[in-house]
Symmetry: C2
Subunit: 215 residues, 2 copies
Amino acid sequence: MKIGVLGTGRVGKVIGGKLVALGHDVMMGSRTADNPAAMAWATDHGAKQGTFADAAAHGELVFHCGKGEHALAIAMAARPGLAGKVLIDLTNPLDFSKGMPPTLSVCNDDSLGERLQAAMPEVKVVKTLNTLNCELMVAPGKLVEATTIFVSGDDLEAKAKVRALLTEGFGWRDVIDLGDITTARGVEMWLPLWIRLWGALGNADFNLRVVRAKP
Amino acid sequence: MKIGVLGTGRVGKVIGGKLVALGHDVMMGSRTADNPAAMAWATDHGAKQGTFADAAAHGELVFHCGKGEHALAIAMAARPGLAGKVLIDLTNPLDFSKGMPPTLSVCNDDSLGERLQAAMPEVKVVKTLNTLNCELMVAPGKLVEATTIFVSGDDLEAKAKVRALLTEGFGWRDVIDLGDITTARGVEMWLPLWIRLWGALGNADFNLRVVRAKP
């Protein structure tokens, strides 16, 4: 499948690398068409690179792997290529400007997922995978047992497409559909606990498993 | 042990009932000394009841099981009996005034746990158990496998006392110390995801398990 990846940071590289390994035709998008990090990554991986709009136009599915503070600007730059498509939103509204640990730049009665969806009604935004470290996003088997991820979005067909890639491609077994895009508030507000757990456990190699009651 | 329980709602009754079953000398506190719910509960359980200040004065440990919107007022009423003691804070700052699902009345750069600690520097506040349904707080074995709870607080000795009660009394096996009372932000901001999971799963009989990486 043709897939666009917005962002040249660690998340974009890990997601893009996994997609290439799965045999997909991947284009990494960045602010300019001559981004050295994107050009080097594309050469190393036999992939393509271009602007955010190029990567969005290339993809049947598009991953948003940008930083929270740039998430809306990146989406606006990619928007010409996104109409009618599924945008898989991995971003977190982390605000490091007041020091560590970060706060959230949006939360409680709004979320970054909702802001992206509101800014681009013609795009099908599906929030997922923002709840764990990017190395684990594409390798859930690194954990000692199956864990849980979530999908949030207004479009059922879009969520089904994303779920298929997450399960068949990335190996996820427990994917909970939380509901419409407003449920992105829930998964984004998990980050403050995730950050404290990182501190308490001394590493980011963990995830949550939703455990149900005995029948 | 002598234990005070602040609050006559479902959480107070469930926590109080478990403590009585464990053989503790429990006093339930409410706004007035003649609260019918508290008097009936105390009679049924062979326990005591009184004002918030009475219950706080009675307890070597004191559980705060009040609603978030009343949490500070209840603590202020109990304060005369709390000096130097451990206050186990189970409250959540849920705000239902704007409809369902609730938002949080405090979050992101503050928390109810921190507000309680700041309002009563002479009390050792330990935040815990606010992350799951009260039936499960006292019966973690109802879930299909061991799950995780957290403690947050500034006083190590106070957290050790609380951990002992949680493990030896309530049966918890995985209790993660997140750090000082500011980490209450993390566990309180988990609630929005907990609420969406309740909606998605159709019941509140679940908890999270923190799963670590393979060695």
